[in-house]
């Protein structure tokens, strides 16, 4: 038996460079003669562009060129790449610079190219744009009403799509027959992804070879290559996209934005490199936002707590344009999750994608699944309240029993494996649920308001089988590929098409290879983020890199090991059947002194002096891997809070998270992913939220007003795990990048509303700021302030 590094919490190999500031991000890359691009952006959410006068700007020091939307000859508009079928989808044109009309605050109107960043900004300020302001609409439900300002002439009623794949009649029948129906209007507020590194792009074009290199903050450089090739008209093999170090994305670096197209086009136009790096203020204005749902949700149940059905009408705000993957988020990644970990036999979802004058929305950590989990968990608490049953008991009663290999649910998915009751009871045990309920009562007698929230969840990640991608209109595959290359001196380069950007995959993926092939982790480099250096891949998002790329690497490594074994047998003049393997070394059964290390074999494969008949030289294998199904991690989270009724402040006292992501390759990294995800999800419940005014001006445009979570808001998280391998995955792993975000928002929300129940408060829109909580308490008292 070999010793395994799988399961060991070794330190993240990427951290030394990240922590010491030695990582090289896009903006750190300097090219001689580079021009800096500044973008003139619309100050209005909705306005006709009457005229643009760039003469003063053009005359300024260092300014090389100013371009407007009308100048962008040869640059096509940005495509939407998730075309949901059977939804009457409209894809309005998204030019890289607004033509005729600006549709959100921050919409690009002109670009300035100048010798340095200051000159570019000065000149951008000097471009005179005359606007005719139009009425704006931000709320997606309002934007879908008759009489709302029309944002795109070719998107009637602002409705970009209507997706309703389930049987309405059947659902209605369930609701009509049910003992109990609860309803709530749930607001999933807009969120700002706030990756630590703002977006940046730099393009260099060689007119002689017609080759374009684009360095950019991308979670999926191969997708960027394909889109940049499409919008510029360059052949895909003449475009190289490099994602150097990327400082977080949370989904916001999946889309291809106007800015990346603009630097590419300008570099081609001017024959010199062009760079653009957004400021944090620009990041908040123009980089995609997440969530933005107005949901009308009903849940049907029997009077003894059996959940019979869930249905929702969702108005999903798309913003001024349809971002790259936007239509897929409130549909496929949302409505298909309405069963959760429960035996709910009837689901219905009508998801209406609505154009608004907000910043475009797209995938943000969890992407559609947090919005589904929240509504389920919220409605279960409502059912519990209505029938007078403990909310944990309602959940317990409805959990799907354990299954090992496939479980079909009413929403059309087949879950891979799960043991929800075990995770659930474990979390309840860690929390001391029964004991807490007693404490809560005695605290209430002293006028203290404690609350508990429990969320059982499962989610769909490790996206996904390509066949499914095709069936649901995703304009790409969802497989990954990888090459494991061993150098003559026995060091490994693992080249992957995915593009990790902070997750720690250089460590976890190396751990997989180390176990399969017997190399030390330190002898393995994981190389990613360059379309010329790495094989094709669809990118890092949807908690898919470990499940999908990890599988490709495991299989490539296994192939290599087979080759090694054959070669080792040949070199030791033994039969392959007699070869034993342990810890990176081959030996012949019965003569343990004779060994060939994997390094020896790699060298001999490269030298090819003495190969078995028919074996090709070299020591390298590639593998494409298309998963047969998604993976479905699951678990139960519990929060305990206390509300200060004088101020409305919420103290999060305990947070318990029991997650099952299959076998953990690196428990430290898993914990890190859960911590980060939980923090982001709790922040949605308690403090984060975009606010626009009635004219569509972003009022939360800086961190002075937009509340990022801070470490002192949180207790130490109490983590637990259960281990249920995915039956279809080569090493059994599931994804864990988004579970924390998916589970934590309803957990904390429900805990707060539980605490407020004695005060008569039933609903508060997120985020639960102290002012809103305090006001709700006053209103429930019938007083007001």
């Amino acid at each position: 038996m070999s010793t395994r590094i799988f399961g060991s919490g070794i330190k993240r190999r990427e951290d030394p460079r990240l922590i010491t500031g030695e990582a090289r991000y896009t903006d750190d890359i300097k090219l001689p003669g580079v021009l800096h691009m500044a973008v003139v952006r619309s100050p209005y959410a909705h306005a006709n562009i009457v005229s643009i006068d760039s003469s003063a700007a053009e005359a300024m020091d260092g300014v090389v060129a100013v371009y407007t939307g009308d100048d962008l000859e040869g640059l096509a508009g940005l495509p939407t790449a998730w075309l949901i079928p059977d939804s009457d989808l409209k894809t309005p044109e998204h030019p890289a610079l607004a033509k005729g009309k600006a549709r959100y605050v921050g919409d690009g109107v002109a670009i300035v190219l100048a010798g340095d960043r200051y000159q570019a900004q000065d000149a951008a300020d000097a471009v005179v744009v005359e606007y005719e302001e139009l009425p704006a609409v931000i709320d997606p439900e309002e934007a879908a009403q008759e009489g709302a300002p029309l944002i795109h002439d070719d998107v009637e009623g602002n409705i970009a799509f209507k997706w309703a794949p389930f049987d309405k009649e059947a659902s209605d029948a369930v609701f009509e027959a049910a003992d109990v129906v609860v309803s709530e209007r749930i607001l999933q507020q807009r969120l700002l992804p706030t990756a630590m590194e703002p977006r940046s792009a730099m393009a260099q074009y060689n007119p002689a070879t017609a080759e374009l290199t684009l360095w950019c903050t991308s979670q999926n450089p191969h997708i960027h290559r394909f889109i940049i090739s499409a919008v510029t008209g360059l052949n895909e093999n003449k475009v190289r996209v490099i994602a150097p170090e990327v400082g977080g994305g949370f989904g916001s670096k999946i889309p291809c934005y106007p800015d990346e197209a603009l630097v590419s086009w300008a570099a081609m136009q001017l024959g010199v490199p062009v760079k653009w790096t957004e400021t944090r203020s620009e990041n908040y204005l123009i980089t995609i936002h997440g969530r933005d749902h107005v949901q009308h949700v009903d849940m049907a149940a029997s009077s003894d707590g059996k959940i019979l059905g869930v249905r929702a009408t969702v108005y999903a705000g798309m913003g001024g344009y349809l971002s790259t993957a936007a239509p897929g988020i409130p549909t496929i990644l949302h409505g298909l999750l309405y069963v959760g970990p429960y035996t709910i036999d009837s689901v219905y979802c009508e998801s209406i994608g609505v154009m608004t004058n907000g910043t475009p929305t797209d995938a943000y950590r969890g992407a559609g699944r947090p919005e589904a989990t929240f509504l389920l968990e919220r409605m279960i608490d409502n059912v519990a309240k209505k029938i007078g049953m403990d909310p944990a008991e309602v959940r317990r009663k409805n959990l799907i029993p354990a299954f090992e290999d496939g479980y079909d649910v009413a929403a059309g998915l087949t879950y891979d494996s799960g043991d929800y009751p075990v995770a659930f009871e474990k979390a309840l045990g860690m929390a001391g649920y029964g004991e807490f309920r007693r404490q809560q009562k005695s605290a209430a007698a002293q006028g203290r308001y404690l609350g508990i929230g429990v969320t059982a969840y499962t989610e769909m990640c490790g996206l996904g089988p390509s066949q499914v991608a095709g069936a649901v209109g995703f304009q790409g595959g969802l497989w990954e590929s990888a090459t494991v290359r061993v150098t003559p001196t026995g060091k490994v380069q693992a080249l992957i098409g995915a593009s990790p950007h902070g997750q720690g995959s250089e460590t976890t993926l190396a751990q997989i290879i180390a176990d399969e092939l017997g190399f030390a982790v330190d002898d393995i480099e994981v190389i990613h983020g360059d379309t010329t250096e790495t094989p094709m891949g669809w990118g890092t998002y949807g908690s898919r890199t470990t499940p999908v790329t990890g599988a490709a690497l495991a299989k490539a490594s296994q192939k290599l090991k087979e080759k090694a074994k054959t070669l080792a047998a040949h070199l030791m003049e033994a039969s392959e059947d007699d070869i034993e393997y342990a810890d990176g070394s081959f030996s012949v059964k019965g003569s343990p002194d004779q060994t060939q290390s994997i390094q020896d074999v790699a060298l001999m494969a490269h030298l090819a002096w003495n190969m078995p008949e028919g074996m090709d030289p070299g020591f390298e294998e590639s593998q494409f891997y298309d998963p047969p199904n998604f993976v479905f991690p699951f678990g139960t989270h519990i929060a305990i809070v206390e509300v200060d009724s004088e101020t409305g402040e919420i103290e999060l006292q305990r947070y318990i998270a029991v997650d099952d992501c299959g076998p953990q390759i690196n428990p430290e990294i898993v914990a890190g992913q859960i911590h980060g995800g939980v923090v982001q999800g709790i922040a949605q419940a308690l403090c984060e939220g975009v606010i626009y005014d009635e004219n569509g001006q972003l009022l939360t445009g800086t961190m002075m007003d937009y509340c990022m979570p801070k470490a002192d808001m949180f207790p130490n998280f109490e983590l637990g795990e259960t281990v249920t391998p995915s039956p279809h995955h080569p090493v059994g792993v599931k994804g864990v990048g988004e579970t924390g975000t998916i589970a934590s928002t309803p957990t904390v929300y429900n805990a707060v509303l539980d605490a407020l129940a004695p005060l008569g408060v039933e609903q508060i829109d997120m985020p639960l700021t102290s002012a809103k909580v305090w006001q709700a308490i006053q209103d429930a008292n019938g007083g007001g302030s």
């Binding site: 009022l699 002075m704 102290s770 302030s785």
Partner: protein, 281 residues
């Protein structure tokens, strides 16, 4: 992120700073309010006169009362034994400004010259009856803290005038405290309350109360003070003071979309009680 063009001079003394200011521009102290505004192009001074290394503006002296150089950082004030002894509320307020990095750069002079309504130190200065010492082309003058703060970002300073120091009476025989309800995003004050109580046995002989954060400027709260003076600070007195303080600040309230005026006004009452509890602590 990308300020407009500006000139920069470093002043070696107060006289040099004042002479440079004759040519316009702004003083640069810790830069922690001015530079962010310049980066956002909300402010575009043509000249920055760096006063950060003027020895006369540095340091804390305790001589009957406190005199704090305008260039003294929040951190130096928070960690000064003299300030802790003579006006613990000011040490506490400065210790609650921003984070450690902000406290290492930001100065008392810069803070009060900037007069952000959500600032912490002004509330204590107003409660404790501080004096702001100013020097300009026409000489020196001193202004009481209550008269110094006029409105949002507006003070009694004239163009080209420099704050040289701030003087405070010794209130080591008082019970004083500053309590802050921080805005969860910025951590500036949603409301900040400073109290300074002179006790005569169990009776409160004199109460000084000021509120900031919820108001356009730090406001001295006479009604709340009257409700406390002469009482034993019993529950009835505290409730009366909490009500009174809402009236004291009613004319000067300020709010934002997340924390509206009405909420901040109510919180002033809650935090007045908490400040008194902390002072007695």
């Amino acid at each position: 992120m990308w300020p407009n063009k500006f000139d920069y001079v470093r002043a070696g003394s107060v006289d040099e700073a004042l002479a440079s200011a004759a040519g316009g521009g702004k003083f640069l102290a810790g830069g922690h309010s001015l530079l962010p505004a310049m980066k956002l192009r909300l402010d575009s001074p043509e000249q920055l006169i760096d006063i950060g290394r003027i020895p006369e503006l540095q340091g804390i002296s305790a001589n009957g009362g406190l005199t704090i150089g305008a260039g003294t950082t929040h951190d130096a004030i928070a960690s000064s034994a003299d300030v802790q002894a003579m006006c613990s509320a000011l040490a506490s307020a400065c210790g609650q400004v921003g984070d450690q990095g902000v406290r290492n750069f930001g100065t008392l002079g810069g803070n009060i010259a900037h007069a952000d309504p959500a600032s912490d130190p002004p509330t204590v200065l107003v409660a404790c009856g501080a004096t702001i010492n100013i020097q300009g082309a026409d000489g020196k003058r001193s202004v009481g803290a209550e008269d110094f703060f006029i409105d949002l970002f507006e003070t009694a300073l004239d163009d080209g005038e420099l704050i040289t120091s701030v003087s405070l009476p010794n209130c080591s025989d008082c019970q004083c405290a500053y309590v802050k309800f921080p805005h969860p995003a910025s951590r500036y004050a949603i409301v900040g309350v400073a109290v300074c109580l002179k006790m005569d046995g169990d009776t409160c002989a004199q109460a000084d109360v000021a509120v900031g954060g919820a108001t356009v400027k730090a406001v001295k709260c006479a009604d709340a003070e009257a409700a406390l003076a002469g009482t034993t600070l019993d529950e009835a007195a505290l409730n009366a003071a909490a009500e009174a303080v809402k009236a004291d600040i009613a004319e000067d309230l300020i709010g934002d979309i997340a924390y509206p005026e009405s909420y901040r006004q109510q919180m002033a009452g809650v935090f007045l009680k908490r400040a008194i509890a902390a002072a007695q602590g």
